[in-house]
Amino acid sequence: MIGLEHFLAVGALLFGIGLYGLLSKRNVIALLMSIELMLNAVNINLIAFARFVAPDRPDGQVFAIFNIALAAAEVAVGLALVFRIYRDRAGIDATKLNGMKW
């Protein structure tokens, strides 16, 4: 039967994929998507824990809902900024975001 470990494994895998994308991608949109993956991994974890560890309390689910809302707001702002950059310099390659030296 499918148990907690399976969900956690999916979560970890998703998180890993997101992290990998974050480190390897250059397109800002792709970076945002990677972050979304990571956040969704968190949600999977939370829901799984809520189901298997603390089924009597809604903490995990509430947590996940807030997460989703925050992720959406983050993405909305992120896209707006990306759009801005795209209009200014016709490209969203993250490595080209070098107007300032690191």
Partner: protein
Amino acid sequence: MNFSLIVPELLTACLAMFLVVLDLLLPGKETRRSLGYLAVFGLLGILAVLLGQQEASGAFYVNLYTVDGYAVFLKALFLLAVALTLLFSFDLIERLPRYSGEFYALIVFSVLGMMLMASANDLITLIVGMGVMNISFYILVGYHFRDMRSSEAGAKYLILSAASTAVLLYGASLVYGYTGSVQFVKIFQAVDPSPAMLGGMAMLVIGLGFKIAAVPFHMWSPDIYEGAPLPVTALLAMCSKVAAFAVLLRLLIQALPALADGWVAIAALLAVLSMIAGNVIAMNQHNIKRLLAYSSIAQAGYLLCGLVAADQAGVKGILFYSLLYVFANVGAFAVITVVKLHSGSEDMAAFAGLSQKSPFLAVVMTVSLLSMAGIPPMAGFAGKLYLFLAVVERGYLWLALLGFVMSMISVYYYLLVAKVMYWGEPADGRRLEVGSSLKWAAALSLIATLLLGVYPGPLADAAAWAAASLF
């Protein structure tokens, strides 16, 4: 549920939305100066309400939210810092391309987020507060959208911060999973140093470390500080950092005293790295915002020393230092604002000859920088004394010595700025235009910096009172 406990937060939220509404109602052409004043005085009014009910303490909504001396102190700090910051940045905000009304509203929203973080007693409240603050800041950082650097900084900040938040959240989910609760207190009860739990805590701390901009999680801050509009940079340096500290302290000290040996060592390491890297790299900066960015990394290192102490004295030191750092920052950024408005540049060279154009501002800048360096009679000295004292009491003499040596190194680059101001020749003969509200903010910060340096007693008592509530 005792709603009177969250009255300041409710008022802040109302103020922010009221600002949005007013902004929509006002005719489009008008400058939003009135909104700015409304925001400032609104925040000060909330501060008054907050201080008026400081006796009220307790937990709100099944322990999700606690109001104690610690939270009240930090909230007062945030409100004050933001009010002062707004006060000196009216002129600059009105030069932003459009939408200055929203700017005020967003800043007030970010205050709301910080206040939530200060009171957060469980992971969900923490995430919500942090989210509100973060999202406001993403927009604020990228606010100057005609300026390429600003939108670039906004995007960078968003990506890095969101990534760090994701790491933090993953850690939070693990902690939740292994304790079955999101409340800090319960985490403490359920503590069982299983590897997954430790991993979760480590990820939480990494996420917060990013916000604090402690080395090695600091890489974002110079770029973001440089690109963001000035008042936002100021707020990032003071408030978002302190807010993250607020959570970190509550989490580690209140919820995880059992693991103190572990995290104290980590905090000490971060403190050392931050103090050294921040101060050393700052020496080579020419953009004043970058310089302050690195300096703020170093300040984070000093604050971390208080965490190393991990006792009441340490927390008191952190609180005290944070507040005086606010005043020093307000002074410095007020002057930078004037220079930026005057010359359009934030390079060190733009400060040349400031002493001839406005001795007052030059003095404010010098005093603020020296306060950051920790030279008496400026407040910074007393603050560092408290911090390092706490560390020494716990037997970390070497850390305190390192801190002091690094402070002395920092004198070098702070004085470089002073040197340019007093030594350099002004690039042009134009008169410096200084708004009256800015003068007020600068004068206030100057007086506060000097007063706290000479007579820190009452504030130290307040900080001690606040710190006591955490134990």
